[in-house]
């Protein structure tokens, strides 16, 4: 198992944002987490990536317990993420955003940097080259030198994914990758996510667009009020009465 989540809870005072969630994930799977607003999806993401410490429970990522580690450490272990409210480095150029993500791989220390040694220069060149390849993968190569803050909305979402990929994670967490996109862009995003899986990555995504979720997921977990109410293949989840109830309300007659 690549990822094991064991009885994870996250409470804020009296509010149980996430309650006793358990699931595990094999490599190369696309898992979607769905649920109504306020179901605890993003809180779960924050626990998985180290931005919040679970109140209870354990998260084990390829053999290492990560529930107590800081976010930067978890990223270096191989989990990368995007954010629901896009968080780009707006003052930097598009390609620099992707270069930042390769931070942990760069070996050159202070002295080679100051001396501009050949090893530093070739490393910098390869970092730039790799960044450019990730931009090309998401169709952003023509805006590489533009300011990241000037990109249109859809392109900013794609840049966040390029940046997350550039830190070369095994597991990538996408928080509403198709939010605010038009149908054409959404289709492209689905194709992109499939290609990311073909690169051997495991993907967890939060998404509200049901067509998107049903079309792309291998497995789906449904959260409601912080509790897991269903888990399974898309068709199973779709027919689950609990899920229908959570989304549409209970039949009363």
């Amino acid at each position: 198992m690549l990822l094991e989540v064991r009885a994870v809870s996250k409470h804020f005072g009296g509010i149980r944002a996430v309650e006793d969630i358990t699931f595990s994930l094999k490599q190369g799977i696309i898992l979607s987490i769905i649920g109504p607003n306020g179901a605890g999806k993003t809180t779960l993401f924050n626990c998985l990536t180290g931005f919040m410490k679970p109140t209870r429970g354990n998260i084990i990522f390829s053999g290492t317990t990560i529930s107590d580690l800081p976010a930067d450490r978890i990223n270096r272990l191989g989990i990368s993420r995007t954010f629901q409210n896009i968080r780009l480095f707006k003052g930097m150029s598009v390609i620099e955003n992707v270069m930042v993500a390769q931070h942990a791989k760069i070996r050159s220390g202070l002295l080679p940097i100051i001396a501009h040694s050949p090893s530093f220069r070739s490393e910098e060149a390869s970092v730039r080259q790799t960044a450019f390849e990730y931009l090309a993968f998401l169709g952003l190569e023509s805006s590489a030198e533009q300011g990241a803050g000037n990109l249109p909305y859809g392109a900013q979402r794609r840049l966040e994914i390029a940046r997350a990929l550039a830190s070369e994670p095994q597991l990538i967490l996408l928080d509403e990758p198709s939010a605010g996109m038009n149908p054409l862009e959404t289709d492209e995003m689905m194709a992109t996510i499939r290609k990311i899986r073909e690169m051997g990555k495991t993907i967890i995504l939060i998404e509200h667009d049901m067509k998107f979720v049903m079309g792309i997921s291998d497995r789906i977990i449904v959260l409601d009020h912080g509790v897991k109410i269903a888990e399974g293949a898309p068709q199973e989840v779709k027919d689950n009465p609990l899920v229908i109830e959570a989304y549409l309300g209970k039949e009363t007659h």
Binding site: T49, F51, P70, A71, D72, N75, R76, S80, R81, F83, R87, L88, F89, K90, G91, M92, S93, E96, M99, V100, A101, Q102, H103, A104, I106, S108, L110, I113, I114, H116, F120, E124, V127, R128, G147, R163, S167
Partner: protein, 376 residues
Amino acid sequence: MNSAIIKTLLRSGIISLWSALLFLPFKGLQAAGILFILLFLALLLITLTSRLSGHVVSRADIVQKQVAQLIPSNSLYLLLLVLPALTMPLFSRNYMLDVAVLSGIYIILALALNVVVGFTGLLNLGFVAYYAIGAYSFALLNTRLGLGFWSALPLSVVITTAAGFVFAAPALRLKGDYLALVTLGFGEIVRITLNNWDSFTKGPNGISGIDAPFFFGISLAPLSSFYYLVLFFVVLAVIVIRRVHASKIGRAWIALREDEIAASAMGIRSTQYKLYAVSFGAFWAGLAGCLFAAKMRFISPESFTFMESVLILSMVILGGLGSIAGVIVGAVILVALPEALRDIQMYRMLALGAGIVLLMIFRPQGLFRGSSASRS
């Protein structure tokens, strides 16, 4: 009459009224009135012309880009700057050189503060503390232990860097305004300690009799020689800071400034890189302190007041946060301008304040817009 015109009139009126009121106690009613009328008309004119020919701010950016295109390549550009700087002592008087040496010291200080505030986004209001620690370490090592310039300098710089590290380690738990207040306190603590520790620092009397530097037996005491010493360190600082800026370290600093959460999601250890930035800044500030002590041959706590921190910060903001070229220009302007305009020197702080407020209104990013990390 539409609302845009009323808004323009009101804006120009308030800005010029405010500037006139500032000058009222110093120059009397008549001068303040003239200033008000002139400023009001000038502001109206600027707004009108900018309506006709695009925005002032964007126009200034275009000018900056055009200038940048004229500069053929980085190395040649550096040579163009260094050549007049190298020949300066041949044709200028001692007074000019004195101003140039002082500018050089402030350029190093402003570049150092720019690493902390401009690149990493950690507001520091007590930066003069590192300048003071550098100067006093140098002076004490020299007068008490008899160490020469070239052995006291690296030692003092190491002491200042260590001081930067030790102070920053607990302070970096704070963010934004809180951090700024703590740094302000740190600056004052250092100055008051230097002022009161009579047995060690000789208190307000200061330390005199600091040796002038030697270079292979040649005294660097004459201004023209000392000028070259400062020039060497300025060029060194520019090259080193530029290179660090265009590396993974510089990118990490800027990423932390832009969005700390996203930076840590990308695997950047935020505390470590903030510590790097503060220590790196302290390193250069300490070096500037040594140069200051070696030039003046006498230092006292009076040279390291809060106003000095404000002056260095003003240089960084005036030039443009995060822009190395801008910071150099800012430092030169703020050292040279009061010298050139001796008559209004008593209004230096007043003019500085008014100038920065005007800058914030019309060009909040400073004279030069800071470029991002690794534009190679």
